[in-house]
């Protein structure tokens, strides 16, 4: 452990080869090993210094990622001329030509047809900054709206979705809590620690119509009538009011898949997977 830390703190310097390469790129051919070493030490130190200053700009910019802008600003406060030329796409923008005893370097500029430029549609304007308000909490309770993160912690969701049968049903709260205590003590602990004031999970009772609809759809999906199935799939793909029933459908599918997997009932599996693809239509996402 201590070893590791020490490793991390040891000063790292650029290899002398890169110094040589850079020297050659500006036309200094023969650089001695000693000067290379001295240079690389100096350069490494300066780079570290600039990186440390750039970090300040990142912190004040309230970001987690260091950008090239931060480095530009760090150079600026060190009174170093900023870096130019990042816009050039190629390393050397010049072209060489010789002929008639003359040698020329020139910028290659292609002829552009103005009418092409005029006729091409304008690129999309980037969206402007907008302000959106939502309730993060109402009287200390976080409402379950799309703007807020899901009220159930991610681990819980994971167990719920991977083992739907074990998911805590409202009626069997007691049993469930014992179960989760056994398996996922850590997640329960985290939850208790953070004192999450989440809305208690409410039972989403389906209306009679929805229950009927659910029954019809599920039967049609795994039933034998091809026309009915097509109709059902069409319906779940386009119906905008399925939001509430989505979890039930997914439970149905996952349970179905696990059941049919056991009996090698491929056709059923195919039907179910078809319903998944339809459910995942972009309308819903």
């Amino acid at each position: 452990m201590a070893e590791e830390r020490r490793q991390k703190l040891c000063s790292v310097i650029l290899p002398t080869e890169s110094m040589k390469a850079m020297a050659e790129s500006v036309g200094v051919g023969s650089l001695q090993e000693d000067s290379c070493l001295a240079l690389s030490e100096e350069v490494s130190y300066r780079i570290k210094e600039i990186a440390q200053d750039a970090l300040k700009f990142m912190h004040h910019g309230k970001r987690r990622k260091l950008t090239t802008g931060d480095i530009d600003h760090a150079l600026k406060i060190k009174n170093v001329e900023p870096l130019y030329g990042f816009q050039s796409q190629e390393f050397i923008p010049f072209r060489f030509a010789s002929g008639g005893g003359r040698e020329l370097h020139f910028y290659e500029e292609k002829e552009v047809d103005l009418s092409d430029i005029i006729n091409t549609p304008l690129p999309r304007v980037p969206l402007d900054v907008t302000l959106k308000a939502h309730w993060l909490s109402i009287d200390g309770v976080q409402p379950a709206i799309p703007e807020n993160p899901p009220p159930v912690p991610k681990e819980q969701q994971k167990t719920d979705s991977t083992e739907p049968l074990k998911a805590v049903k409202p009626g069997q709260e007691e049993e469930g809590s014992i179960q989760t205590k056994g398996q996922g003590a850590s997640s329960a602990e985290v939850k208790g620690k953070e004192k999450m004031r989440m809305k208690p999970r409410s039972t989403h009772e389906l209306s009679v119509e929805q229950q009927l609809y659910y029954k019809e759809i599920t039967e049609a999906c795994v039933g034998s009538c091809e026309a009915k199935r097509a109709e059902a799939l069409q319906s779940i793909a386009t119906d905008p009011g399925l939001y509430q029933m989505l979890p039930r459908f997914s439970t149905f599918i996952s349970e179905g898949v696990s059941t049919f997997m056991n009996y090698i009932y491929l056709l059923m599996l195919l039907f179910l997977l078809a319903s998944v693809t339809w459910l995942l239509q972009p309308v819903r996402v």
Partner: protein, 741 residues
Amino acid sequence: MAAVQDGPMELDAEKETKPEILSDGTSNLSGNTASGTLSSSPLTAAPAGGAPKMEDQQTLIAVLQFLKRNKLTDSVEILRREAGLGEDQEDSLATDGSGGGKGDGDGGDAHSLLSRVSITSAVAPQNMPVKRADDQPDVSVVLSAYSQQGDPSLYQVYYSGLKNFIESVLDCHRAELSQLFYPLFVHMYLELVYNNHENEAKAFFEKFSGDQECYYQDDLRVLCGLTKKEHLKGNEALLDFRTSRFVLRISRDSYQLLKRHLQERHNNQIWNIIQEHLYIDIFDGMPRSKSQIDSMSGSLAGEARREVNKAKVFYGLLKEPEIEVPLDDEDEEAENEEGKPKKKKTKKDSLGSKSKKQDPNAPQQNRIPLPELKDSDKLDKIMYMKESTKRIRLGPENLPSICFYTFLNAYQGLTAVDFTDDSSLLAGGFADSTVRVWSVTPKKLRKVKSAADLNMIDKESDDVLERIMDEKTASESKILYGHSGPVYGVSFSPDRNYLLSSSEDGTVRLWSLLTFTCLVGYKGHNYPVWDTQFSPFGYYFVSGGHDRVARLWATDHYQPLRIFAGHLADVTCTRFHPNSNYVATGSTDRTVRLWDVLNGNCVRIFTGHKGPVHSLAFSPNGKFLASGSTDGRVLLWDIGHGLMIGELKGHTDTIYALKFSRDGEILASGSMDNTVRLWDSMKAFDEVETDDFTATTGHIHLPDNSQELLLGTYHSKSTPVTHLHFTRRNLLLAAGGYNSQ
């Protein structure tokens, strides 16, 4: 007894330097001009008394050289005659002097001597004005203190000898003496580097860097990059370390133990460092425990000296101006309809009587001249009182609702946010140099009409304020262009007519919210300005930046009224005390300082943060201060006693926003980890027992009760919280820019 010797000497030096600093006549405040700028100047640390005769002569030579260079021949002659020095003698001495520094050029050494001369002003008073021109700490003079050295190969032996000793002492002393490790380590390493023992320095670093406390990791990272003498020049981190003596608080028993050990072993190397570079604050009584020490340490220059936090601070609130609340007929009728007019009246009375009492801890009403209330301000005050009667009383059982304002499509460019006090306007500073103002009420933002149109208006009409506005310009948001770098701080004036913004381009700009144009650009910082804030009474504002000073400005002066200097690194955030007499600043040197606006003195230094401080908040009663840093902890401070009184752990990333509810019961903190957390501040303040002992010694016992104090955690999807604001009715507003990935 380093502590005892140094006290008076430093004070003298301070007195000397004070009058020269900043004698600009722009100050319109009563009292003297800004001072305290040099209180921690490195020059005070240079040897002043007890120098051998040789050094005196060298000093003289240096003065002579300086005078010659500036062609002050008369002075040269006079000085030479008085000192009885011949010309040859001078030359020979000059070469002698330069021989002292190994491999250092003549110029460098003479220069270092020169700058030393500038403090021993008694020798050559005539060169004072010239030298004073640059009061920057001079690197070479600072470093020259490292030139005496022992055998480089023995450094490891010295250090490990001390380490063994400290590890073998009694448990109660070990924690205290362990504080020595870090400063000694740094100074010994720098000494090795300064004297060109690169390999020894590296070996020394590798051997002992792992032993240092984890919260010094950032500094060690900087340090490990320094391997050459040339690197030391112009390195700020080093200057900070060297110019300010690292302060340690050690009990008398532990100190005696250490002293005896070092004397027995004749370990002069370490003893010299302790004498020269450390300040040991010795106290009588029980040694402190490890946790007590850990809670206070972590700052760049050790703990605050005890006497620094002894000055009296008038933390009470100013008396509210008496405003007769006119009985607004319409409103009264409305209340009548609701059927509770009587209740309202009694409430008003109670409010009135409360504000009439004078707080014994409050400063005098005119200690700082404050702007007079305008009619519009009075109207606003009345509105405020009305709103506050409808305020929800918060508490652990009654948590506030939080409304989150998310900036969409900001592309990680949102850098600062502010709300007006009445929560009607919202301003955002962006990395693309713009400032945007939104109206969060249905009332749209309008510009004032052009001058020609204004002429046509009937100025006698009652609704002239309405008539001057140009309906055609009404929109929900306005963009202010003017800065040439990312905007790091924005602040509304209390009357909502102005907006301040501070930017990377080194300026603070004042914008009019009537015309939506820039009125003034305040230049002075020259480096990025990290934060700015208006005084709660308007007119004054404070700014702090990369140049390590905070400045106090008045809107009608283009030069600062006060410069608050003393921080050892960037000033990252600045906040006004509710009574406007004090300013709190947080810094990258991991300290929070409180400054007196009247005389520019630093009256409190709070140490204990383990990372740069990025947010500050005063409690509404002015008694307490909360500060949040990159290490994800909020620390609570009692301003009157100058003590840390609480530590709130829970956040996992930098805390960028802190705010107390209007009555001070709840502290809200917002962080980079996408959460808003609510803390029971009443409980945190109540549980502190400030008996006389803790107050005098400054030793604190912090209960580890963060979990009990945490009232709620609210996650946003992917939006770091940049700003928090309680409306006058105690609804919490949060703001931040959405991160799409």
